[in-house]
C-alpha cells in the first residue's frame, strides 16, 4: 500500500509528519485504536521510560504552543523489544528524543511506537509483527 508523504512543520517545538507506518508487535490488544496510515513525529523530553509488560510506554513531554503536553507512546512487550536491541536504559528522564508514532484515533495524546531517534543519533524501530 502506498501512502502520501507530506510534512507539516508545527509553529513551535513539535513537527507532524504523515507517512507509511507500522505499529509495534502485540499479542495483547488490537491496533484498531491507532491510525496506522499516519505517522506523527514528536520532538520532546523523556519524562519516564517504562520498559514493562504487557507493553512498554514512553512518557514524553512535548511543548505545544509553549505548553508542556504529556504523550503516552506505547511500545511492544519487554521480551519482544529486548531481542531487537531495546532495554531498560534505552531512554532516561531528560533525554531529548524524536519519536515517530501512529496516533490514537480518538485524538488523545498518545500512539503506537514506530521509531525513535536517540540523542546519540541511533535509530530504533518497533515494527508490526506480521500476521
Amino acid at each position: 500500500m502506498k501512502f502520501a508523504r507530506a510534512a507539516f512543520l508545527l509553529p513551535l517545538a513539535s513537527a507532524l509528519c504523515v507517512t507509511a507506518g507500522a505499529a509495534p508487535a502485540s499479542a495483547h490488544h488490537s491496533y484498531a485504536m491507532f491510525d496506522r496510515t499516519k505517522a506523527v513525529t514528536l520532538e520532546g523530553t523523556v519524562k519516564e521510560w517504562q520498559f514493562t509488560n504487557p507493553h512498554s510506554w514512553l512518557q514524553l513531554i512535548v511543548l505545544e504552543n509553549g505548553t508542556p503536553i504529556e504523550y503516552g507512546v506505547e511500545g511492544a512487550s519487554v521480551n519482544t523489544l529486548i531481542r531487537i536491541g531495546w532495554g531498560p536504559k534505552t531512554f532516561k528522564a531528560g533525554d531529548k528524543v524524536t519519536i515517530v508514532m501512529n496516533p490514537l484515533r480518538d485524538g488523545t495524546k498518545g500512539g503506537a511506537f514506530v521509531k525513535a531517534t536517540l540523542p546519540s543519533g541511533k535509530t530504533l524501530s518497533a515494527g508490526q509483527t506480521p500476521g
Binding site: P11, H29, I69, R83, T98, T108, K109, Q128
Partner: protein, 357 residues
C-alpha cells in the same frame, strides 16, 4: 498348585490382592495421578533423547496455518451445528494459552526433555508437558487448558496424543470444540536448528474432517527466557492500573490546548513531499560514519536480521530479501514475509534499520 488356593492361605491372598487392587484403583480414580500400564513406567534412556533442549523461536506469521494465503480464513472445518455455535464469536486469532493455540508461540518457547517428559514453556502461557515415560491418559481426567499429552518415539519422531482440554479453552480463532477433541502431533527435527510440529486437531463431533497445520521453530542457542508479567503495567483494565495512568497519555498531563487549528494553517496539506526522512529528524545529531559495509556472502542473512531488528517478534529465517540497493551510507531492500511487503532502510552496516509497509 490349585490346592494352595483354598483355606486361610487363599483368603489371605485374596485380601492382599483386594488391598493392592484398591490402592491401584484409588490411584487411578484421582485425576492427574500418573496412569502407568501394568509393569509401571518405561522411561526412555537418557542417551536416546534428542538434543532439542533450549530456546526456539516461531517461524512465520502469528497464524494457525502459514500455508493458507493471507486473504483466506483460518477457520476449523466445522460441521453445520458447530458453524452455528461458532457464529458471532469474535475471532481472537491463534494466540492465547492452552492447546492448540499455544503452539503458535507468539513468543519463544523453551524445550527441556528428560526421561519423564518433554516440557514446553512459552513466555506467555502455562507450561505444557508431554509425558514420554509410558503412562497413559488418566482414566478420570481433570480437563485443563493444555490438556494431557502422552508421547511415543517412532525413530527420531515424537508422536503425541493430547486429550482432556477444557471446554472453555477456545480453538484458534476463538471457536468452540466438543468433548471429543483430541490433538495428534508429530514432532521432529529435520536439522539441528529446526524443529517441526505437525498438528492434527480431531473433533469428530464438531468437525467434518481433521484440521492440520505444521509449525516451524528455529533454534536460538544464545537466548534466555524473558519474563512476561502482563499484570505489571496493564493500562487496558477499566481502572487503568498501569503505571503512568490510563492509556491516553499520563493522568497528570495538562489538558491539551484547544486549538490545533494553527497547524493546518501553517502547513497546508499540499505541502511539498520530502524525499526521505521526516524534516524533524534532520535536527537529530548525525549518525557516526559507517566503515563496515555488509560483506557479500553474509548479505542475505545480515539483511534478514536487520529486518527483524526493525520489526521484532519474527524469526529472521522467515524473511525473504530482494531489491537490495546500496550507496556509501545506506542500504535499502524489500523484505517479504507471508503477509507483508516491507520497504526497509538501514545504515550501510545494517544498523539503524527501519521498515515500513
Amino acid at each position: 498348585m490349585k490346592s494352595g488356593f483354598t483355606g486361610p492361605r487363599r483368603r489371605a491372598r485374596v485380601t492382599a490382592a483386594v488391598v493392592v487392587g484398591l490402592s491401584w484403583v484409588g490411584g487411578h480414580a484421582w485425576a492427574q495421578t500418573a496412569n502407568y500400564p501394568a509393569g509401571g513406567p518405561k522411561p526412555p534412556s537418557w542417551s536416546s533423547l534428542p538434543a532439542w533442549n533450549g530456546m526456539w523461536e516461531r517461524d512465520g506469521d502469528i497464524v494457525w496455518d502459514d500455508r493458507i494465503a493471507p486473504d483466506q480464513p483460518q477457520t476449523p472445518p466445522y460441521n453445520a451445528e458447530y458453524q452455528k455455535r461458532a457464529a458471532g464469536i469474535p475471532n481472537r486469532g491463534p494466540v492465547g494459552p492452552g492447546m492448540p493455540n499455544m503452539m503458535t508461540m507468539i513468543f519463544p518457547m523453551e524445550v527441556e526433555i528428560n526421561q519423564r517428559e518433554m516440557l514446553i514453556v512459552g513466555e506467555s502461557s502455562a507450561p505444557r508437558r508431554i509425558y514420554i515415560d509410558g503412562r497413559l491418559h488418566p482414566e478420570d481426567p481433570l480437563p485443563s487448558s493444555t490438556g494431557h499429552s502422552i508421547g511415543q518415539w517412532k525413530g527420531k519422531e515424537l508422536l503425541v496424543d493430547t486429550c482432556c482440554i477444557k471446554d472453555s479453552t477456545p480453538l484458534p480463532g476463538g471457536g468452540p470444540h466438543s468433548d471429543a477433541l483430541h490433538i495428534k502431533e508429530r514432532i521432529w527435527a529435520p536439522d539441528a536448528n529446526t524443529l517441526l510440529d505437525e498438528i492434527t486437531v480431531e473433533d469428530p463431533k464438531a468437525f467434518l474432517k481433521p484440521w492440520t497445520t505444521v509449525k516451524t521453530f528455529r533454534r536460538r542457542p544464545d537466548w534466555e527466557p524473558v519474563e512476561y508479567d502482563r499484570q505489571e503495567n496493564d493500562r487496558d483494565t477499566p481502572a487503568g492500573r498501569g503505571r503512568g495512568g490510563p492509556r491516553a497519555g499520563g493522568a497528570e498531563a495538562p489538558a491539551a490546548p484547544p486549538a490545533p487549528a494553527p497547524v493546518a494553517s501553517a502547513a497546508p496539506p499540499a505541502a511539498p513531499v520530502p524525499p526521505v526522512a521526516p524534516t524533524a529528524s534532520a535536527s537529530a545529531s548525525p549518525a557516526p560514519a559507517r566503515s563496515r559495509p555488509l560483506g557479500k556472502p553474509a548479505d542475505v542473512v545480515a539483511l534478514q536480521k536487520a529486518t527483524v531488528r526493525a520489526v521484532g517478534a519474527m524469526a529472521w529465517e522467515s524473511v525473504k530479501i530482494s531489491n537490495v540497493q546500496r550507496d556509501p551510507t545506506t542500504v535499502k531492500w524489500v523484505a517479504a514475509t507471508r503477509s507483508a511487503q516491507l520497504h526497509c532502510t538501514a545504515a550501510a552496516d545494517g544498523d539503524d534499520s527501519v521498515c515500513e509497509r
